[in-house]
């Protein structure tokens, strides 16, 4: 298989659910510093609902997989995270449509659609100390890895496993960038969400949404590496 399969995309979502569950208390601790101390619990509840929805039946195509994921999050998380993560996955599903395998380029384009959805829904700008501060650099890293000269010819030649190798290198680059970007939210002043009422007092704390978004990219890299 040259491209990323539905099984691998499903493994990404399940891996993210497992990562959120494992880091639930840490996410909540970050949120208690500058928010309302429920991010870990809310996202864990939402991702558990996603796993239940995915267990119900196999996904017919990418649109089905990500629509069920998005709606489970939207209906179960609450707060701002539900609409933001929900919109992210709904837009990815809409972008991939009836595909059952996706190339690195298609997956990158779908992730961009997801990020656009988050931008429209949250109306945050880069530097506002939100999940967007991880999404944008992670996607930049993905795009840069797509353009690496010695990967591109492989893609064009269509060598077996070349495209999934490209997805692997893109997702690994995105995960590394996401982790760095997560840490880089600490010195920022929050300008969106409940943390914004703290103003300067939000400095020195990693944004909880940035932390969970970094888990999302780590889970994608792990799913593609397997």
């Amino acid at each position: 298989m040259a491209d990323v399969s539905l099984e691998v995309l499903g493994a990404w979502l399940r891996g993210f659910a497992a990562a959120v569950a494992a880091n639930r208390d840490q996410l909540t601790a970050l949120d208690s510093a500058i928010g309302d101390a429920d991010h870990g619990a809310n996202l864990d509840r939402g991702m558990a609902a996603v796993v239940t929805a995915l267990d119900a039946r196999p996904a017919a195509d990418a649109a089905d997989l990500f629509a069920r994921t998005g709606m489970a999050l939207v209906s179960n998380v609450g707060g701002a995270s539900g609409p933001l993560f929900g919109t992210f996955f709904l837009r990815i599903g809409a972008a991939l449509g009836a595909a059952t395998t996706v190339s690195a380029m298609e997956l990158g384009a779908a992730l961009h659609a997801g990020v656009s959805g988050v931008e429209v829904r949250g109306k945050a700008e880069l530097g506002d100390k939100t999940m967007l501060d991880v999404l944008v650099p992670a996607l930049d890293a993905w795009d840069a890895a797509l353009d690496v000269p010695d990967s591109a010819p492989q893609l064009r030649n269509g060598a077996p496993s070349a495209a999934s190798a490209l997805s692997r290198s893109c997702s690994a680059a995105a995960a590394r960038a996401a982790a760095a970007a997560r840490d880089a939210t600490a010195p920022l002043v929050a300008r969106k969400g409940r943390a914004s009422y703290l103003g300067e007092r939000s400095v020195g704390h990693i944004d909880p949404g940035a932390a969970s978004t970094a888990l999302l990219f780590a889970a994608l890299a792990d799913a593609l590496a397997e």
Binding site: N42, G79, L84, R194, Y197
Partner: protein, 332 residues
């Protein structure tokens, strides 16, 4: 934590069941956590939906009834309801004339109601308009934050807009009226103590015995400053001055709300209103209508807030129109 609850995890569901038992004139959808009028209003009239996190009672479920809301959507304590809950309410109260949803300006609420409107429009084809209330003058730096929070003006807006919908004004008129009320109201609050969210089990913030939080939000968000507590006559100035500094209230009749945050006795609220009324009078503000009591609370927080609404003859007329809800009732 000592509270009249069974289990922190079931507070909302248990409370909604109790609300249904106490108010047979309401219909409670326990699955979607939406409170409706038992007898829907006549077809062809605009539906009015509000909602948000729980813990602010009587807001919003206590304002469901003739002359006010058609439905109130309840989120978990201090947490926005989800789009599927809100969308269910929007579809249920649409009698063909469309629905106005009233949203307090919190990041989660705004996003969830926005998605709900998209769902209700795309699915059942309900025409949905939205008004966002952002009246808390405590948030000074609103350009660099999520903006002013929605607080006391929400109560006055739900009453006035509910009256307009009840008399048959169309969606465009009701929406324009709602925006006008939202722009004409300002609020400021102060806390004597924190509240305790049942699921957290401990106070949301620490406040020393002899200090107050000036400009607190209804979820315990930090205010403008902390200071030593003081006589009520001085505390009243902390509420009145920032409100009057933000909007001119001397050129029109005013509706005033002196609101308790949940754990302050009515005796103290009346005392505070006396101080506030004297300051407003001295500042040339003509208060034509006023209510004093617990109307938008923050669980068991002690303290109060002041809301002023710059009205006119039309707003006063709609304010005076009959209303019959658990939380507000006159003329009916």
């Amino acid at each position: 934590m000592k509270k009249l609850i069974n289990d922190p995890a079931s507070v909302l569901a248990d409370s909604l069941r109790g609300l249904a038992a106490a108010h047979p004139e309401l219909r409670v959808d326990l699955e979607h956590r939406v409170v409706y009028r038992a007898t829907p209003k006549a077809a062809g009239k605009v539906g009015i939906v509000s909602g948000g996190g729980s813990g602010h009672e009587p807001l919003h479920a206590g304002y469901v009834g003739p002359g006010m809301l058609d439905a109130a959507v309840a989120g978990e304590v201090f947490t926005s309801p989800t789009p599927d809950q809100v969308a269910a309410a929007l579809a249920a109260v649409d009698t063909g004339a469309g629905v106005l949803q009233i949203v307090k300006n919190y990041t989660g609420d705004v996003m969830n109601f926005e998605m709900a409107a998209e769902l209700a429009t795309a699915g059942p084809g309900t025409a949905v308009e939205t008004v966002i209330v952002a009246d808390d003058v405590a948030v000074e730096d609103s350009t660099f934050t999520a903006g002013r929070r929605g607080v006391g003006t929400t109560v006055l807006l739900e009453k006035i807009v509910g009256a307009a919908a009840e008399e048959g004004q169309d969606l465009a008129s009701v929406t324009a009226l709602a925006r006008r009320v939202a722009e004409s109201g300002r609020s400021m609050g102060l806390a004597l103590t924190s509240s305790t969210v049942p699921a957290a089990g401990k106070p949301t913030f620490e406040l020393p015995e002899d200090e107050i939080e000036v400009g607190v939000g209804i979820h315990g968000e930090p205010g403008r400053k902390r200071q030593a507590t003081a006589p009520a006559s001085d505390l009243a100035k902390l509420l009145v001055e920032p409100v009057l500094a933000d909007l001119d209230f001397t050129q029109a009749p005013v509706i005033a709300l002196l609101n308790g945050l949940g754990a302050t006795p009515l005796m103290e609220l009346h005392l505070m209103y006396g101080e506030v009324a004297a300051l407003l009078d001295a500042a040339g503000v003509r208060v034509e209508r006023r209510i004093v009591g617990n109307y938008i609370t923050a669980l068991d927080m002690a303290g109060c807030s002041l809301t002023l609404l710059r009205a006119d003859d039309e707003l006063l007329r709609l304010w005076d129109a009959p209303v019959a809800t658990p939380g507000l009732r006159w003329g009916a």
